[in-house]
Each structure stands twice: as structure tokens, then as C-alpha cells.
Symmetry: C2
């Protein structure tokens, strides 16, 4: 099997991404919610009708597209019509996935702006719009990568037992697919680990003389209520698009 | 005294920046040194003769300049000729510092590319040029902010005992200024705390099934050999430019 599809390797990447996501969320949690940065047009004409975060995300994706970021099968842009890469393609870019058109970034952005920000940031406005937006443009792609890694997870699970999946894919039965990809024991382990990491990182933060981190229970909810459901949605959508063998 | 100059507040920001820097460095340390990304022109015409990291840094600063990043007295750009902000000025932007022209970013970039990267990353080339560059563009401004915070530290120390500093500033005696701003006890505390944080974060990392972090001793060296000397250099240069009272 392609080494990118070994469940052991996928779980390593997902665990690594937990740190990236928690680090980025802790940075964002320094600032208040600053709801105005998510409101399209609120910053005037210069953002072309987009929100401040949208503008910054789009401009950043234009640069990262030139860095070849979105030729990688585990990266998904939030914006379309991005410029071509200036770096040659990498061998890593060959996808072990079946062709698919799944990009849940609109859902991720909605979840982030309306669910995750109120969960991790204090209510209110501290005028730190630039800094907050820069943090958001760290958080969103990290969460997107974690969520869309569901494609690798789903392909790996499919290849392990194609006979279990083929009839359910042919019947287009989303509910049974959701049951097949769900492993409650692993999910509980991930939630415990995320909570433990948040506690560890908050201990690091305490040394910083009381600067805000995020509570371990908040980190758990971030995963339980937002990241994991979106990841499982990707898995099911991927399998529905996958040609049964 | 301006609250941005209270040594207690400054030390809080500096401690917070330790987390930001360690998080960013841990991300970069996932990848090999990839020396080619620091070589001007090595990626061809598209980077306009700059290195890949330089190109990405410059393009990112153009966007962040529009987000008003560099109107803040604690932010220093690596590039000149950046576009004007699209956000109005903030009250935070009023500087409690004396006017000065100190920008050690050329030194910081040289230290980073020739000293810090070999310290924290494995030797070699893993072709992850885009990802490594994206990490560098996290690390460099974080280190720059930490180093240039020396201006606030120096101003605060000056205001606490102007009578000790005035004759030394008038005599332009850099060596005595360095003695005056040096507090070995505080420096030892910072190094111990940085080492402890790196250990804490590495414990978080170990939960990620053996993915690389950075060794506590490496974090200590990063501060002892690079970040602190540059910070102290900023303090001395700032005082040399400061009009004695």
C-alpha cells in the first residue's frame, strides 16, 4: 500500500496537526472575538467587498499557490482562481486518493467564524483586527488540512476491507457509511489526547505569567463538536464519490 | 509611566513571545535545512532574484502592511517600499519610544539562515521548500519582534534611572551601556524558563507518536546564542540614539 495510506502514518500526521491547530488557536485566543473582521464589506472598499479575514486569506492563498501549496493532495484552498506555482511539482504531490471534488472549506469557514471563534475567544472587540486576522489565516488552513485528511483515512479504511464498503457505496447509504468509518474507541483516545495536550501547553503558558491559553475542556469541545464531525463528513462524502471496486 | 513601558508588562509580552517563537521553531524543525531556499536566485526568475524565503517574506509583508502591521512600534519590516495600510491607525500605535531608526532585521535574517536553521533543523534536503518557507515566514517576524522589544526594555530602564544613563550616553560608551542593561539574574531565569517550556512542549509532542520537536538544550542555545545577544544589541543601539535628558 502507498505509505501515505498506512493508517499508522495517517494517525502520525493527524496527531502532529493537533499541535499545529492548538498552537494556532492559543495565539488567536489572545485577542477578543472582533466580530467585525468576519463581516463582508465592513472594512470598506479596499477589501473588495470581502471581510478583512477573507481578504487576508485570499491574498495569502495567492502567494502560497505560487509556493505550490495547493498541488499537494492534502491541501485545499479557500479561494478559486489562484495563480500557478513557481516551483516545480514534487513527487509528494502524486495523490494516492481516487479523483474527487470534495472541498469542505466553505463549511469550515462558517464553523470557524460562527462556532469556533465564540468558543475560544472572549466576547468583545479589542481593535486588534490585523493581529486577529493574521492568526485566523494560521488557524483556518490548519483546520482545513485536518478535516480533509479524512480523504486519506477513508481511502485507507476502504482498501483494508473493500468488501464491506462496496455494497454500501453502491447503495449510496450515507448512514451506514458513517457507521462503518466510526471507531468510537479511537475517537475517545483522540479527545483525551487533545485535552491532555491543551493542559500541557497551558502549563507552558502559565510560566508566561498568566497569559491566556485555552482550557483543556475547550480544546476537547473544539475537536468533538467541530473538527471531528467535519472530518467524518469528508470521509463519507469521499466514499460516496469513490468508484466501488 | 506609559503602561507599555512598565517592566512588568514588557516581561509579560516577552514571555508570551517565547511560546510563539518555540511553537514556530518546532513547526520548522519538522523539515530539513533545505539550504537552497535561502540562496538568492536559486529558484529562477519568478522570485525576482531573491531567495524563495525572501520572496515569500516580501510578498507576505506587502499583505501585512495593508493590515497595518508595521505602524505598530513593536513591528519592523524586513523589506522596504511596502504598500500603505487599508485599516485606520490604532491608539496602540502611538509609540512610547523616542524616535529612532533601528532595524536589525538584516542581522536577524543572517543569524536565522546561517545559525538558527542549522541549530534546529536536520541537515539535508527533503524538497519541502514551500512548507519550510512558510514556517520561516512565521519564525522570522516572531524573532524580530522579540529582538526589537529591546527598545521598550531600554526605554524603560532609562526612565527608571536616567541619571545613571545620561553621562554614558553622552560619552557614547557602548561597553558601559551593555553593562548597565545587563541583568544576569533575569537572563538566567529566562534561559531556564525557555528550556522548561521546550521540555513541556516536547512532552506534548511525544504524545504525537515520536514526531520531532526541539530539544530543551537547543531552545536554550537559541536564546543564549542568538535571540538574547541581538536583543541586547538593540538596547545599546537604542540608548546610543536616545537624546540624554
Amino acid at each position: 500500500m502507498n505509505e501515505q495510506l498506512l493508517l499508522r502514518n495517517i494517525r502520525g500526521v493527524l496527531a502532529r496537526l493537533e499541535d499545529t491547530i492548538l498552537f494556532a488557536i492559543i495565539e488567536r485566543a489572545q485577542f477578543k472575538q472582533n466580530a467585525v473582521i468576519y463581516r463582508p464589506g465592513a472594512m470598506g472598499d479596499m477589501t473588495g467587498g470581502d471581510s478583512l479575514v477573507g481578504y487576508l486569506l485570499h491574498e495569502t492563498e495567492k502567494i502560497h499557490a505560487r509556493m505550490r501549496r495547493f498541488t499537494s493532495p492534502d491541501e485545499h484552498p479557500f479561494y478559486r482562481n489562484l495563480p500557478k506555482p513557481i516551483l516545480p511539482r514534487l513527487r509528494f504531490d502524486e495523490s494516492p486518493l481516487q479523483p474527487n471534488s470534495i472541498n469542505l472549506n466553505p463549511d469550515i469557514r462558517h464553523a470557524y467564524e460562527t462556532g469556533i471563534i465564540p468558543l475560544v475567544c472572549q466576547d468583545g472587540d479589542d481593535q486588534q483586527y490585523g493581529s486577529s486576522s493574521v492568526c485566523d489565516v494560521q488557524c483556518l488552513p490548519a483546520i482545513s488540512r485536518r478535516v480533509h485528511f479524512g480523504k486519506f483515512v477513508a481511502e485507507s479504511k476502504y482498501l483494508a476491507t473493500p468488501g464491506r464498503f462496496n455494497p454500501v457505496i453502491r447503495a449510496r447509504n450515507s448512514e451506514t457509511l458513517m457507521d462503518l468509518i466510526t471507531d468510537e474507541k479511537i475517537e475517545a483516545e483522540v479527545l483525551d489526547r487533545v485535552e491532555r495536550k491543551a493542559r500541557t501547553y497551558s502549563r507552558g503558558q502559565e510560566a508566561s505569567e498568566g497569559v491566556a491559553g485555552i482550557a483543556p475542556a475547550t480544546a476537547r469541545r473544539l475537536y468533538r463538536d467541530w473538527i471531528m464531525p467535519l472530518n467524518k463528513k469528508v470521509q463519507v462524502l469521499y466514499l460516496l464519490q469513490r468508484p466501488p471496486g
